[in-house]
């Protein structure tokens, strides 16, 4: 299969996911109506669907560790952030869930979303079993949302103060970078499934040949994705915290 054939044909029109997406969209409007910010929600749904129906998901599903990593980042960092941004300002969590709004829980959720699912056994299982993959996806979305709540919660009072937010984001960035560094330089395969993919589509020769993605390089790119672009997301968030800090309300001149 050539690259062109692959990109044009390898779409998986998963009806369950498409229905889920539509239901979520309707549910969003029923719940929040005009109060929400539907554009963010739409972007979240579209990105989520793209991660699973585009040819990309085929690659992530057993062919390329790096494609899996991109999907992982999308599900932990991008989609949950967009979901939180789409919430109306009036939104609050109800009592049992308020436990999730402790900063330490948020931090652990964000970091373990990266570390836990890259333990070789779990990583392998998620790449081969559909059930495990579904569990993984759900858990990533939840953990990502819990992580971002500290920074992107709908109301100012629910968020960390900007300096604390910077510490929160920086330490999370460092913890994930360490994993990225380990993946990049590890002499052994972290997720052995991707070393010898079961080539159901006959695409492997294209990947290894014309794309030049050997399994070593593939794992390196995966590690680098977790290390560099992910840090760029955190740095952007840190800068947003600084902007928030410096734009917090000025008292009236007469207060002096």
């Amino acid at each position: 299969m050539t690259t062109y054939q692959f990109v044009t044909t390898a779409w998986t029109w998963n009806s369950i996911l498409l229905t889920l997406g539509a239901v979520a969209f309707v549910g969003y409007f029923l719940a929040f109506g005009q109060r929400g910010r539907p554009l963010y929600f739409a972007a979240a749904i579209v990105l989520f669907l793209l991660a699973f129906i585009s040819p990309f998901s085929v690659l992530a599903n057993g062919y390329l560790f790096s494609a899996h990593m991109l999907q992982h980042i999308l599900l932990v960092l991008i989609v949950p952030a967009l979901l939180l941004l789409s919430l109306p300002r009036s939104f609050s969590l109800r009592p049992p869930l308020t436990y999730l709004t402790h900063p330490l829980i948020g931090w652990i959720a964000g970091v373990s979303a990266m570390w836990l699912w890259h333990a070789p056994t779990l990583c392998n299982a998620a790449a081969t079993s559909r059930t495990v993959s579904a569990i993984q996806t759900t858990s990533l979305l939840i953990m990502g949302s819990v992580f971002w709540w500290q920074v992107l919660a709908p109301r100012e009072a629910q968020r960390l103060s900007p300096p604390a937010g910077i510490v929160y984001l920086f330490t999370a960035c460092a913890a994930c970078s360490v994993l990225g560094i380990i993946l990049t330089f590890a002499p052994v395969s972290i997720c052995p499934v991707y070393q010898h993919p079961v080539d159901q589509l006959g695409i492997l020769s294209t990947i290894r040949g014309s794309w030049g993605l050997t399994s070593d390089r593939d794992q390196q790119i995966g590690g680098l994705l977790m290390w560099v672009p992910m840090c760029a997301i955190y740095v952007t968030a840190i800068l947003a915290q600084l902007a928030r800090w410096h734009s917090s309300p000025q008292p009236e001149q007469s207060n002096a």
Binding site: P187, L239, A256
Partner: protein, 744 residues
């Protein structure tokens, strides 16, 4: 002092500031941040002269083709010493000295948070400098470059002890830098005067504060690397020697993971200086304070993850090259933002072209050139062509001299009146400035072209190829202008100190707090602080009818965090970097097939039992802390003694593990596994031991009944943080060394 003076009288005289002044010891025993700052800068000046003379010899050797003025090995020693001296013994001490002087004054503090730690940090500089230079007497200076690439820096290729002295000296200097950074963080967080909120910090203070975090994260990485190379050299370790299974590329990763942030450790203080001087001499507030402040944070965070661009020619593979190229180019954005802010500050201002401002203008132009050539090195293909040529030498000298040295000269001229009460001579200052501009550009502009013509760097001589001769001669000629400039600077400092005209409190009409006190400031810095509501308190004072807009909320009632706590947390942060590097190094080699002992030799169950003891000691310490808070002395002593006992049991457990390995003939030099195992667990054991010593001191103090006041309680808690940290590190070491092999 007559013969009848008793020790008690002597002690009293030394401890009493008024009497101590009569003793020559006053400057040696000082813990006053202003005196320490001056000592930092004078030490830097001495080494600047040494490093400058080394540079002079290098350029004399390179003045003409096929020159044999210096032996190749002498040349290598000179350029190693020149680089090491200029970075660690000149620029770092001088920027630390400036921050040490100005920062507490700018935030209205009496001193740094830890005055004695401050003195310790300073004395590391002369001590490290002497260690480094002692190598000359002990068999030859290091000749491996300031980067000490392995395996050249390993014993088989550099058998004289030069590299050992180099590594130990840099280790000592690194510890000094870390203590300065810890002190800076604690000072800025805990010692700000009333009304001086974090958002009102002058940019000089803010940028130095951010810089302290880069130091905290970068220096421990180097220290871990130096420990590893010393283990290789002195204990026959395997880390960086390919024929023993080690990896020279790992040394480069470690060195540049420190080395690139180091560039910013040197450059951010220069940014800080420029951000302070340009507004004052443009008679305008800085354009976009928030952008300058935030871009410093962006630079700091990004700088930690772009070191790979120093290694494009190593052959890391295309994925790494591409990612590092992109991340390196990203740094150009916040840096560019800063240049824009400085330029926009000057736009429309009533600029006064005094020497500090002239230096800043030269800084702007030369830093722009340095930045542009810097971006060219972020491009992998271009980097391959120019990396090992004089183009790169020109690039980093444009950063180090064109930007940093110029900013420092400006800063000295700017703050000298505050430090001495006398102005520096403006006309001599102009001579210094113009000679430096001419000499610097003559020396280094041409080196860009030399590099593009293909002249390699790090060579002691070169063949007589077309144009190389006159270009090198021109470059060497420039050095004499720079030397003249430096001599005039020294002359200016000396004569102005004795005969300069009086400065008054605020000779430049500046707006930050250091100009609100006398010149030089009294021992306690301020008698009273003006009200602080904005970033320019002295402007508000002078212009009550049109003050600056108030920044943020007034937080006079807020109590600042305890400085002991901030200090120990900063220290723990730096230790995280140290152990993080060691653990990553362990994992770097983990799983590579090799003969000899491996993780399977280790006794996991027994280690788990001893680990439980260590973890339990965290619990017992916490109980002891609770008992202290409740003033129950007996219970506190009991729990503390139990903590020490448990820590001791853990060390004995580790000892038996080592003993068993030694019995089977396994020691540090056996193979890669044993080297990395003993290094990682050994350093952890050392930290446990140090923690135990600290706890024993506290036990002794508590036994003597020394725990009545609040101050002691925060000290006790600080040691507690350290002890818990040592336990947490063991969690990770345990997982990496003992548990990881089980789950695979």
């Amino acid at each position: 002092m007559n013969g009848t003076t008793t020790i008690a009288e002597f002690r009293e005289a030394v401890l009493d500031p008024a009497k101590r002044r009569h003793y020559q010891l006053a400057w040696l025993s000082t813990v006053d941040h202003k005196r320490i700052a001056v000592l930092y800068m004078l030490t830097a000046l001495v080494f600047f002269i040494i490093g400058g003379v080394e540079a002079l010899f290098i350029r004399l050797q390179l003045a003409v083709p096929n020159n044999h003025f210096l032996q190749p090995d002498t040349f290598n020693q000179l350029f190693t010493m020149h680089g090491t001296t200029m970075i660690f013994l000149v620029v770092m001490p001088v920027v630390f000295g400036l921050a040490n002087y100005v920062l507490p004054l700018q935030i209205g503090a009496r001193d740094m948070a830890f005055p004695r730690l401050n003195a310790f940090g300073f004395w590391c500089v002369p001590f490290g400098g002497i260690l480094l230079h002692f190598s000359v007497l002990a068999g030859g200076a290091p000749a491996v470059g300031w980067f000490a690439y392995a395996p050249l820096s390993e014993t088989p290729y550099s058998s004289s002890p030069g590299v050992d002295y180099w590594a130990v000296a840099i280790f000592v200097l690194g510890i000094g830098s870390l203590s300065f950074a810890i002190n800076t963080i604690a000072t800025v967080i805990s010692l700000r005067g009333p009304g001086m909120t974090m958002r009102r910090l002058p940019l000089f203070t803010w940028i130095n504060f951010v810089n302290a975090f880069i130091i905290i994260f970068a220096l421990p990485v180097l220290n871990a690397g130096l420990a590893m190379i010393l283990i290789d050299r002195l204990l026959q370790g395997h880390f960086f020697l390919p024929f023993r299974g080690g990896s020279p590329v790992l040394w480069q990763h470690i060195f540049w993971a420190f080395g690139h942030p180091e560039v910013y450790i040197l450059a951010l203080p220069a940014f800080a200086i420029v951000s302070e001087i340009i507004p004052v001499f443009s008679r305008k507030p800085i354009f976009g304070y928030e952008f300058v402040a935030a871009s410093s944070v962006a630079i700091a965070v990004l700088s930690l993850g772009v070191w790979g661009h120093h290694m494009f020619t190593v052959g890391m593979g295309r994925p790494l090259d591409v990612f590092f190229a992109i991340s390196s180019m990203l740094i150009a954005i916040p840096t560019g933002v800063k240049v824009l802010n400085w330029t926009a500050t000057m736009l429309g201002g009533r600029i006064r072209f005094d020497v500090p401002m002239l230096c800043c203008i030269a800084f702007l132009i030369q830093f722009l050139v340095a930045g542009l050539t810097g971006i060219s090195h972020a491009s992998v293909a271009l980097d391959w062509q120019t990396k090992n040529s004089y183009f790169l030498v020109a690039h980093f000298h444009f950063v180090a001299v064109g930007a940093i040295v110029f900013a420092v000269i400006g800063a000295i001229q700017y703050w000298f009146p505050k430090m001495t009460g006398r102005m520096m001579s403006e006309s001599l200052g102009r001579w210094t400035f113009w000679l430096m501009v001419i000499g610097f550009n003559m020396t280094f502009v041409i080196q860009h072209f030399l590099g593009l013509l293909g002249m390699p760097r790090r060579v002691f001589t070169y063949p007589d190829l077309p144009h190389w001769g006159w270009m090198n001669m021109l470059s060497t000629a420039g050095v004499f202008f720079m030397s003249a400039s430096a001599l005039i600077l020294v002359w200016n400092l000396a004569t102005s100190f004795f005969r300069g005209k009086g400065a008054g409190d605020n000779p430049w009409d500046a707006w930050t707090l250091e100009w609100a006190t006398t010149s030089p400031p009294p021992h306690e810095n301020f008698h009273a602080l003006p009200p602080i509501r904005s970033r320019r308190p002295l402007w508000d004072l002078a212009n009550p009818d049109r003050p600056d807009p108030i920044v943020g909320e007034n937080s006079a009632a807020v109590t600042l965090p305890n400085h002991n706590k901030i200090g120990i947390l900063s220290f723990i942060l730096s230790e995280t970097g140290f152990f993080g590097t060691l653990i990553l190094a362990y994992l770097y080699f983990y799983g590579r097939p090799e003969a000899g002992p491996g993780p399977k030799e280790l006794d996991v169950p027994r280690t788990l039992v001893f680990s439980v003891c260590l973890f339990a000691s965290s619990f017992t310490f916490w109980r002891s802390e609770v008992a202290l808070t409740k003033q129950r002395r007996g219970s506190m002593l009991g729990w503390l003694a139990l903590t020490i006992l448990l820590g001791g049991v853990f060390l004995v457990g580790q000892g038996t593990e080592y003993w068993k390995l030694f019995q089977t003939g396994v020691d540090l030099s056996t193979n890669m596994f044993s080297t990395s195992f003993f290094t990682l667990t050994g350093f952890h054991g050392l930290h446990v031991l140090l923690g135990l010593i600290a706890l024993l001191i506290f036990l002794w103090l508590a036994w003597e009944g020394d725990f009545a006041s609040d101050r002691r309680e925060s000290a006790f808690k600080s040691v507690g943080y350290y002890w818990h940290f040592v336990d947490v590190v063991w969690v990770f070491v345990l997982l990496t060394v003992y548990i990881l092999p089980l789950v695979q």
